[in-house]
Amino acid sequence: MAAAKPDGVAGFLSAASIRQSMLAALVAAGLAFPILALRAEPDLDNHLVLINRWPLLAWAAAIVFVGHQLAQIPQIGRALKWLLFGVGVLMVGSLIVSALRADFPIYGRLLLAALALTTGGTALAFAAPFDDAHPFAARQRALRAIVAKVAIPLGLLALFAFPLVMLAALGPAGSLKWINNYGVQILIYVMLGWGLNIVVGLAGLLDLGYVAFYAVGAYAYALLSTTFGLSFWICLPLAGVLAAFWGVILGFPVLRLRGDYLAIVTLAFGEIIRIVLINWTDVTNGNAGLSSIPRITFFGAPFTASDNGFAAMFGLEFSPIHRTIFLFYLILCLALLTNVVTLRLRRLPIGRAWEALREDEIACRSLGINTTNTKLTAFALGAMFGGFAGSFFAVRQGFVNPDSFTFMESATILAIVVLGGMGSQVGVAFAAAAMIGGTEILRELDLLKAIFGPDFDPAQYRMLIFGFAMVAMMIWKPRGLVSTRSPSIFLKERKAVAGALVGEGHG
């Protein structure tokens, strides 16, 4: 990865690299100064006094200096890459081990083995940091083909079996956390990531306000179902259409904008929608939000203990877990729909036009492609899937308010797309699992307790650890987990296109 380093890096302890490390340390010190060096604390009389913490600042600068120097040693860079990869594998591994210890029946073990195999195989095939010159690199490419044929169907099978196996193994109470916190939560973000991937990854249009469409979908379901009593299955397409409409509304003014300007306008759009939701109290009930939104039904049969409920219909004992499991399958199908549509569109002229637009807009126009329509369809389709996810969110929570649609959400979804590798469906799915599942896992990793002592509470540090992981990713895998592009059509053989050649779009 030497090529990825900025020019003029001259190796460990050379004059040039020391100068650069000092600069990096200086920048770090400057950034950390107001946070680390200065602190206001109330004294005994309850007056605020300013305390200086210079040693802390010095430590921060020193750590950056040493870290920057160490990064000049190629072996260390490589070792760190593997460390990063290893930590990821370890996290998944320890999760599976801790699950195994929970006295699983044999089918539970089989399911976990399938999941572990899929994850491990895909990670090794796509994310393991082999250099091109490494002897394993060729085998890694071969592995990718196998993973696509075997691991992905296997993983899908495991996903479909997941809630039922969990339920059988852990019982309704024990499995709730797995199906809801991991399953449903991750899948929502997978779907949002795939939706945004159309706009950002394929068409190359940087959208910082994607959460607006999520909000439109959520409020569309909330309002349509509470005011008109429409069922979820009618509201879902309506919410998609409404969100797509707003996607076009956003698309029109930003047609001529690129890069930073596009990013700022889309960011503002996201905020406008949220602020309208807060202030249009007659309709949206402002900050209090809308509650008592009708819950999901099993095609008409409610998930209640009543006689016409789902449990009674199938002669089961009533349990709230049934609803959670149904929601799991619902979001799984919605996410898969997003994926299938995107994969099919990539092989249609419109999808190719999106990617061509990302590569070179001027050339597109010279070939007779109407770039206005091309951009608007990208915005509209991305928004539509955001809208679907939004109505799912509303039907799952039974309650919506503007707090769920802050800029942080947009940033998380965008981070998933960038982390996954722009344009890659597999990458985005794994990035969503890592980002959302990762933060959840950190909450309960006993492993970290074993390292840092029993008093260590990983939940307190999870955002920090997460931040470190993101920074490390951006240094060693700046193109995301899956950095190659798979061509949409081929004559003799499908060869992956190296990430360095693929455009990132101009905005």
């Binding site: 099919r344 002229p349 990617e355 990302r358 050339a363 597109c364 126009r365 070939l367 004559l491």
Partner: protein
């Protein structure tokens, strides 16, 4: 003399100003159907600006660009169309377009004027084949029912896509890149990228193909292959070609008609032989402005 008898594109009083700078000034010229027309001139003469006006990337400050895709550009028809305020019309003699009124993608798709760029603009992260399929976007889009039929897998899209691949294969065969069809376009050597950009433009089935310095940076062998390709395009596909070129040997060898620009003004127009011996052209190229100097230069060149 086809540009006198059967004009394809008539540029009249074309003027393009950028603020205070007049890049093209009152330029009138004609591109003949079936001709290879060369637009030449020193650096900064305004050649690329003329291309950008023809292909709709710039809207000319003044002037008319009448394009007779089929049939004859009858001056009466052109006048009628101009007065009607419309962009195009089907006249007695065929379709007539006023390019200065049309957006760039409409010019490429309706009027069928394709172009290449002075600095190559391929989709470098897409494969060679994909580049040629993207060029056939509009017919494929129709075949896929504006994507609606294509997404559910009905309609003629699959068959049309196979035909599109066949067309791409035909062109890749012609430029000797068939073995690299599945490689990213950005990985090709420079000369191959130039050829690919030309056939990508050809995949839009143009009536007029505008090439901005296609021979720039090519070695002599590649340059003569390019000449053969351009002749083939004209003879076998009936596509008229308008090209900007600095290399005089290329210009003299393949063009039927040469238009010379200097500082945005046309200084000569005619068959290659006439233009070659035009003192004004020689002066512009050698940078002399004294009458006496011109004569001595002419004497030297025509020695």
């Amino acid at each position: 003399m086809r540009w006198r008898t059967d004009p394809l594109l008539c540029a009249e009083h074309l003027t393009m100003r950028f603020g205070g700078l007049t890049a093209v000034s009152d330029l009138s010229f004609v591109v003949g159907r079936g001709d290879i027309t060369a637009l030449i001139g020193p650096n900064g003469a305004g050649k690329t600006t003329v291309f950008n006006c023809i292909t709709g990337f710039y809207k000319p400050t003044e002037g008319r660009l009448a394009f007779a895709r089929q049939g004859i550009a009858d001056p009466d028809d052109v006048a009628t169309l101009t007065l009607s305020g419309r962009r195009s019309a089907r006249m007695r003699n065929g379709e007539l377009y006023l390019l200065e009124r049309m957006p760039d993608h409409e010019i490429a798709w309706r009027a069928r004027v394709a172009r290449t760029f002075q600095n190559i603009r391929l989709f470098s992260g897409m494969t060679v084949l994909e580049n040629l399929i993207v060029a056939q976007h509009n017919p494929l889009m129709l075949a896929s029912g504006m994507s609606l039929l294509g997404i559910i897998g009905v309609g003629p899209y699959r068959a049309r896509e196979r035909e599109a691949v066949q067309k791409a294969t035909y062109w890749l065969d012609r430029i000797g890149l068939i073995d690299r069809a599945d490689d990213p376009a950005g990985e090709l050597p420079y000369g191959a990228q130039r050829r690919l950009e030309i056939v990508r433009a050809m995949c839009t089935e143009p009536t007029l193909l505008c090439l901005d310095e296609p021979a720039a940076g090519l070695n002599p062998k590649e340059s003569s292959e390019l000449n053969a390709l351009l002749r083939m395009i004209r003879d076998e596909h009936g596509t008229s070609i308008l090209l900007i070129e600095h290399d005089m040997s290329v210009v003299m060898e393949i063009s039927d008609h040469v238009v010379v620009l200097d500082y945005g003004v046309k200084i000569s127009d005619g068959a290659p032989d006439e233009v070659r011996n035009d003192p004004k052209v020689i002066a512009a190229y050698l940078g002399v402005d004294d009458e006496a100097d011109v004569e001595s230069v002419v004497a030297e060149v025509t020695r």
